[in-house]
Symmetry: C2
Subunit: 200 residues, 2 copies
DNA sequence: CCAGCTTATGACACCCCGTGTCATTATGTA
DNA sequence: TACATAATGACACGGGGTGTCATAAGCTGG
């Protein structure tokens, strides 16, 4: 999600990228941990990364993106898990179970959980970062919604279900991050367990 | 919620407030509607309200507070509805129904729905305003959580339930605001209907 | 090897949000 | 009338985010 203009997509001509966005994000995370989030300015990060402030903004749309950017893979993984199974005819077994499993799969795709935990803890501490959750999780919400509607869940119910799902799973991630348990799956399972499609 | 320092709380001495915060907020809403949210600077609002920019900030903590401030009464009303009935012994009837009714009562306490609809539509259009929902609804979340735990809902479940509740009801408000139906209650009912305390 | 193209880069300037300070003014109470 | 309290607004400042522009770096075709 680091705003990467055209990183891996075949670029036939032009000057290639010379800045390692992931390395810069990692550096920023380190600086945030050392000096604090709001005590570290974008100029500080740029200076430390030996690049210009404007170049920093070219790779990360905002300061918050330096933190939230790393969550891209998780969302992408659960998106993939949600997109794969085609909808069967009629009302299939349990749509909630499908959502749950996709989210678990997405979580399992995270390379290093320790970094993610640090990221989430940093987010939890700062309202400014916290509030970005709505937009950062937007694609996941959209993905879940199409999953539900494709399986016959009526429109308004699907919307509310997705909104509730995002809220609950985000809370689950936060609870996991606050503790020391290695596996986030139980938290996510419990969060999804709070939902019901039947309208009670 | 307009940051009011000491508006109605008996102030024995000192110069009384001479700025009508509600009027300023209404003016700001009008300017936002006319010129657009980000096209209207705090200086514009202050100039139009015939006050200084700093004085504006003394009444509203942020630009977003000019919009979100008006939601205070709703949250306060549902808080009151949630606080009134004392928990009975053992597992009482239906905690979700209690939550649902409190939210409906809160919605019914809104003086003029038209203004609220405009406000929510404005919020829907601007990610910056949208993202404030998390913090703005924080008190409501906390209130619902204590309601649930006081009625025997175990801790982690209560957390997830509240997170889901906030997400779903906010989505319900947004759906209501996007349409023309006069009563938000059906939307809210449907949103709460997506939850379940039983863990499926 | 050179010419020309594309694109990243960084310097500069700018707007605006939000905050801190401070002198001034207005309103109450003793 | 003196005093305390607090609102007001002027000024300055840090910092986020954006636009512009000249320059440098790499690729590709001749």
């Amino acid at each position: 999600m680091p705003t990467e203009a055209l990183k891996n997509t075949a670029r036939p001509t032009g000057r290639p990228v010379s800045i390692d966005a992931d390395a810069v994000a990692a550096l920023a995370l380190r600086l945030f941990a050392e000096r604090g989030y709001e005590q570290t300015s974008m100029e500080d990060i740029a200076r430390e990364a030996r690049i210009g402030r404007k170049s920093l903004y070219r790779h990360f749309a905002s300061k918050a993106d330096l933190v939230w950017g790393g969550t891209g893979p998780v969302i992408e993984a659960s998106r993939h898990a949600l997109a794969s199974p085609p909808p069967a005819e009629g009302t299939d077994t349990d749509v909630l179970a499908g959502l749950r499993e996709a989210i678990i799969v997405g979580a399992a795709a995270i390379p290093d959980l320790a970094v993610t935990r640090g990221r989430l803890r940093l987010i939890a501490e700062h309202p400014d970062l916290m509030s970005r959750s709505y937009e950062s999780l937007g694609s996941q919400r959209e993905q879940a919604r199409s999953y539900l509607t494709a399986r016959g869940v009526p429109e308004p119910t699907a919307r509310y279900l997705c909104a509730a799902l995002i809220g609950a799973t985000f809370e689950a991630w936060m609870q996991w991050a606050a503790g020391d348990e290695p596996d986030p799956a139980p938290y996510l399972r419990a969060a999804v367990g709070v939902l019901s499609v039947g309208g009670r």
